[in-house]
């Protein structure tokens, strides 16, 4: 594999890792607060749809982004209502949300646009366009670093950089602020937070809300940055991969970045079976490359890459007891 191909693949990796990373960090906030969320997929999908729809109608991608976040937040609220307020089963709520998003997006899209569950194609200001970082063009010819800067680092949409910035931000919030301390505590032992005079319900809703915002950005990225419009089921299992990455990352922000880059790379790889064949020296089955992230997830879960211990109060509704 030559340098240019490598850069191309890493470039694709970054693009494909971005929605995973946003969803993964979304899951991180939620699960760190003790709310498991397999509904990431559905939230992304809903956000993808509404962001594309609003962007298409208004021609303004920022309004689209807001709308996407709103859609995701509504589903987050449903999840919060089910799993925090009514102490329902978080997994089932997540499954239901995934279904709901899969169905509603198409039903509404069809009713609004009558294009078979799609939104119109977005163009111009209705989508996020790549931004050239300063001096990218000028430095392009500097050996090694030039192409890396020009090809790999520069030329992504703003949301890619946002996603990358959210990683240190997440770390800072979780480990350097009062809110972070409380959020982590509520995922480990909500009773401790409750008796310390802080509202468990409020904290968990806050976490689920942040999860909604991040999923919303992830979905908007899919429909308005990575693509130019919504098509049905466009989240294509990314929510589940993000969950797997979260486990891989042991619920830590920096590891989440690495895990998502790895999964992004695997996805990039499955698109470039030719490169894979070149590198390993024989033709690799396409289906195998496609399911590699899933297989890898199982391998990780099997603990061959180190045991991941989830937040202790995760998945359980908080019921007061002495």
């Amino acid at each position: 594999m030559d340098f240019a191909t490598l850069l191309q693949m890493l470039d694709a990796t970054l693009r494909l890792a971005t929605p995973l990373l946003l969803a993964c960090l979304a899951g991180l906030f939620s699960e760190r607060a003790g709310i498991f969320d397999i509904g990431l997929e559905g939230k992304m999908l809903a956000a993808a749809f509404l962001s594309a729809a609003i962007a298409a109608v208004t021609g303004n991608v920022w309004l689209g982004l807001l709308a996407g976040i709103g859609a995701s937040m509504i589903l987050s609220a449903v999840h919060g209502l089910a799993s925090i307020t009514f102490r329902g089963n978080q997994l089932i709520s997540g499954v239901a949300i995934n279904f709901l998003a899969a169905g509603l997006t198409v039903v509404i899209a069809q009713s609004w646009f009558a294009q078979g569950g799609r939104t119109p194609q977005l163009s111009g200001d209705a989508r996020f366009n790549p931004i050239e970082l300063p001096f990218a063009e000028a430095l392009q010819n500097v050996p090694v670093l030039g192409p890396i800067y020009y090809e790999l680092i520069s030329g992504h949409t703003i949301l890619v950089y946002v996603a990358l910035l959210i990683v240190p931000l997440t770390w800072w919030i979780l480990f350097q602020t009062r809110f972070g301390l409380r959020l982590r505590a509520v995922g480990e032992n909500p009773a401790a937070v409750d008796t310390a005079g802080v509202s468990v319900i409020w904290l968990r809703f806050a976490a689920v809300g942040i999860c909604g915002v991040l999923c919303g950005i992830a979905g908007a990225y899919l429909a308005t940055a990575l693509q130019a419009g919504f098509v049905k089921d466009m989240s294509a299992g990314r929510g589940y991969i993000a969950l797997a990455a979260l486990i891989f990352a042991k619920w830590r922000p920096w590891y989440a970045l690495y895990a998502c880059l790895l999964f992004g790379f695997l996805q990039a790889m499955s698109l470039r079976s030719d490169v894979v064949a070149n590198v390993v020296g024989f033709q690799v089955n396409g289906q195998f490359l496609d399911v590699l992230p899933y297989i890898l997830t199982v391998v990780i879960l099997a603990g061959f890459v180190g045991k991941a211990i989830p937040p202790r109060a995760g998945g359980e509704p908080y019921v007061k007891e002495r």
């Binding site: 191309q8 693509q227 419009g229 030719d274």
Partner: protein
Amino acid sequence: DPAILFDLGGKFDKSFNESAYNGAERWATETGGSYAEVEIQSDAQREQAIRRFAESGANPIVMAGFSWATPLAEVAADYPDTKFAIIDMVVDAPNVRSVVFNEHEGSYLVGMMAAMASESGTVSFVGGMDIPLIRKFACGYAQGAMAVNPDVTVIANMTGTTPAAWNDPVKGSELTLAQISQGSDVVFAAAGGTGVGVLQTAADEDILSIGVDANQNYLHPGEVLTSMLKRVDNAVYEAFTQGTDLETGFNVMGIANEGVGYALDEFNAELVTADMQAAVDAAAASIASGELVVHDYTADETCPALSF
């Protein structure tokens, strides 16, 4: 009244099903007639849908997509007085008209155009689900490209192996980017909804793209080289027009009877040079006359010009 049954992609897929839909609509506006239609929800409903329409008295009943063959073969005999037409597959029954297309011929033509338009000498293909039908497209495309430039490199990628591959524009777009990085500057998408992503990315990256089934030139004016037309609309229109007197039997739509072809309109007029047009039209003529035979992948599941 006639009825039409769409395949799982849905009638607004911008390509195959939409083309069928357009045919039906054309008939409706021209004749003022009305027709029944359904987009099924799952494979299990195919037989159900055919039966329900047959029993409600719809005639003829046209179905778009090869997947209808099995249920139709089952049902056709139960409704001897109803005429059926199926597109993309052959069903051998006295009351069925089977319409198949020589996609490899159309693909050959656009393959030629791709190779002529390419400056890099590399052209590419993005298929939807990896099934023989799509390989047939790819194989014809590669043959056409090689016919004008024996040294051309043809990159072919399939989006996936599940039906989801028809609807994964993200992957279509990434595949296109990958192909661009390998030097491709013309990409042909035969991938249903996934093709939307392919065409979009090609436009974003300023390379040429080729649409499929319906005329997709309008999607990105000036950036879509042409579209490989598969006149599903004609097939539907014709069936509707013949009505209850539908002529049954085997019906091949190739270049010869304008069943396949390439699209030329105001959106791509500037892209298609006179040379190009001449060469393609000549090839079309010799295919029509039988002088030139394009290899059909599905005949023996091999391709002389491309290895999958």
